[in-house]
């Protein structure tokens, strides 16, 4: 597969992630969407790392950091969801409409 192929693939993955973020009701599913977006970015980096960059360590470290940050992010977000669930008894994105205007 060529670089363009990988890029297209990652773009599609990113878009799928975006769609999940925008359309899913369950906040966990939304989080999954975000993960997909980050993975798309990782895939991008790795593709460039393979085809466009002379020193392949950079990309790998980049992706490694992304994975690490994703873990941290998920941890925090999940705890926030838990926190939310404690009072609201829901994690439906569409029911979070108390703050508006």
């Amino acid at each position: 597969m060529t670089l363009e192929g990988y890029l297209t693939l990652s773009l599609m993955l990113f878009c799928i992630g975006v769609f999940a973020v925008l359309s899913q009701r369950n906040l966990i599913a939304v989080l999954i969407g975000v993960e997909l977006m980050m993975n798309a970015a990782s895939l991008n980096v790795m593709a460039f790392n393979r085809f466009s960059v002379t020193d392949p360590t950079t990309g790998q470290i980049f992706v490694l950091i992304i994975i690490g940050l994703a873990a941290a992010e998920v941890a925090i977000f999940l705890s926030i969801i838990v926190n939310l669930y404690r009072t609201r008894r829901t994690i439906d994105a569409e029911q979070l409409t108390e703050l508006q205007g």
Partner: protein
């Protein structure tokens, strides 16, 4: 040794965070924690200012740059932290079991912001951004009332994650287009990169995360919600230090691509439209608000628009103006939030109505609020006026007459809601005459910041010269 010196402010912050961590682990009283936080804040400021004359690249060349720009901004950020620490003597709206941790998180965020201003490498930039963001996500969630903090923290973090994912996606392209993660290398290839439309989109994608921090359209939706419902002290931090860091990094990125000249015009145009949208939406939506913090949130959106005026010019003058304004803006909004903290001690939400009778209950706070709001309106003798003057001037220099006109009309519209707040504080009769007792430290900070806001407005020369110097370091 020199590396340590260059990295001193961040080190101080990290050490402070460590000390606070230990204190918290050993179950120190909040008074002690607060003292330590103040101490760390002072140390961070001192360290940042001390490093002003230094310049260099600690760690590996090209990763991290210490120059006057970064150190100047770090001093402001540290100042922001110090301010927040100073008014956090009794952070009632923070969940009581998290009092001890709160300063630590904010200090970590401060570290992240400091790194953000120096980062010259994409991965460092990204991770600094996240380091600056996560503690704030956490802090926002630590509201004493879960029902109030829950929704906004969820939304805030969700939007932040999306923005940072977009940034990340952009960074990946930047990496691919240039074959390097070093900003230095990227800028050396600017000549070829700038001809590619994708490059400009990528720059925009990269900016997403920072625009999010700045609460610029269309990444501003979190601002009113979070401002309204996060603990007062945390919002203060978000509104001051965080904004400065975002502006600094925007300056950094724009300074990077500015030499592209004509090719940058389209990106500049996009930023201009963002600016127009941000200030218009922010000001309009703020017109009819009942919650003081929410109103300030929208005002922050509008101010993001003003700052973008300077940034979108992509000239030295514009960036200088943006930086100058960032400094002033931090101080001005700090003043407003100081009052919010004081009067909202026992309230989760601070309505504008609750300001009634403030001039009787606490004349000094009322005056503080007045000066802060005058600044936000953009009235002399505060820095708000001259800051806008510089921003507008930079844009006019680029021939953007109509744009500046729109911005100026916007600030006239904004007058309405700020004045309503002033009206409430100075005119409306409150239900209680009970004086509000304000701590000595808070009063001192209020006085100092007020003085700062006015000093910057009346004798802007020194501050302007520093900003010029900083931007020169940035562009040079």
């Amino acid at each position: 040794m020199s590396d340590i010196a260059l990295f001193l402010p961040e080190t101080v912050c990290l050490l402070g965070a460590l000390v606070l961590f230990c204190a918290q682990v050993f179950g120190a009283r909040y008074g002690v924690v607060w003292g330590l936080a103040l101490l760390s804040g002072v140390a961070a400021v001192v360290a940042s200012v001390w490093t002003w004359p230094l310049a260099g690249e600690p760690f590996f060349p090209g990763v991290y740059r210490v120059d006057f720009f970064s150190q100047f901004v770090k001093a402001i950020i540290a100042g922001g932290f110090l301010f927040v620490a100073a008014i956090s003597g009794r952070p009632q709206t923070v969940r009581s079991d998290a009092w001890a941790e709160m300063p630590m998180f904010l200090l970590l965020a401060t570290t992240g912001m400091m790194m953000l201003t120096s980062a010259m490498e994409l991965v460092t930039l990204y991770i600094s951004m996240e380091l600056a963001a996560y503690p704030i996500y956490i802090a926002v969630a630590l509201h004493r009332s879960r029902s109030i903090g829950g929704e906004s923290s969820t939304k805030y973090m969700l939007q932040g994650m999306v923005a940072s994912a977009i940034t990340l996606y952009g960074l990946s392209f930047l990496f691919g287009l240039s074959g390097s993660t070093y900003l230095g290398t990227i800028s050396s290839q600017l000549g070829t990169l700038a001809t590619q439309p994708l490059f400009w989109l990528v720059v925009l994608l990269v900016l997403a995360g920072f625009l999010f921090k700045l609460a610029a359209f269309p990444f501003h939706f979190w601002a009113p919600d979070t401002y309204q419902t996060a603990p007062h002290e945390v919002v203060t931090f978000v509104a001051t230090a965080s904004k400065v860091a975002a502006i600094a990094v925007l300056c950094r990125v724009v300074a990077l691509v500015a030499p592209a000249g004509v090719d940058a015009a389209m990106a500049s145009r996009v930023l201009m439209w963002m600016s127009v949208a941000a200030m218009t939406l922010g000001n309009l939506a703020a017109l009819r608000q009942g919650d003081l913090k929410r109103l300030l949130g929208y005002s922050a959106v509008a101010h993001a628009g003003y700052v973008l005026i300077g940034i979108q010019t992509m000239t030295g003058a514009g960036l200088t103006a943006a930086l100058f304004y960032a400094l002033g803006y931090a101080a001005m909004s700090a003043l407003c939030f100081l009052v919010v903290v004081e009067i909202g001690r026992d309230e989760d939400l601070v309505s504008i109505e609750s300001l009634a009778g403030l001039h009787q209950r606490a004349p000094l706070l009322a005056a503080t609020l007045l000066i802060g709001l005058f600044g936000l309106i953009g009235l002399p003798p505060t820095v708000g006026f001259i800051g806008k003057w510089f921003l507008f001037s930079a844009a006019i220099e680029q021939g953007q007459f109509v744009f500046v006109l729109v911005a100026a009309i916007n600030s006239a519209v904004a007058l309405y809601y700020y004045l309503l707040v002033i009206r409430q504080a100075y005119f409306a009769e409150g239900t209680s005459d009970e004086p509000i007792h304000t701590g000595v430290v808070t009063l001192a900070v209020a006085g100092g910041t007020t003085g700062f806001v006015i000093a910057m407005g009346v004798v802007p020369g020194w501050f302007w010269a520093r900003s010029v110097e900083a931007v020169a370091a940035l562009m040079g």
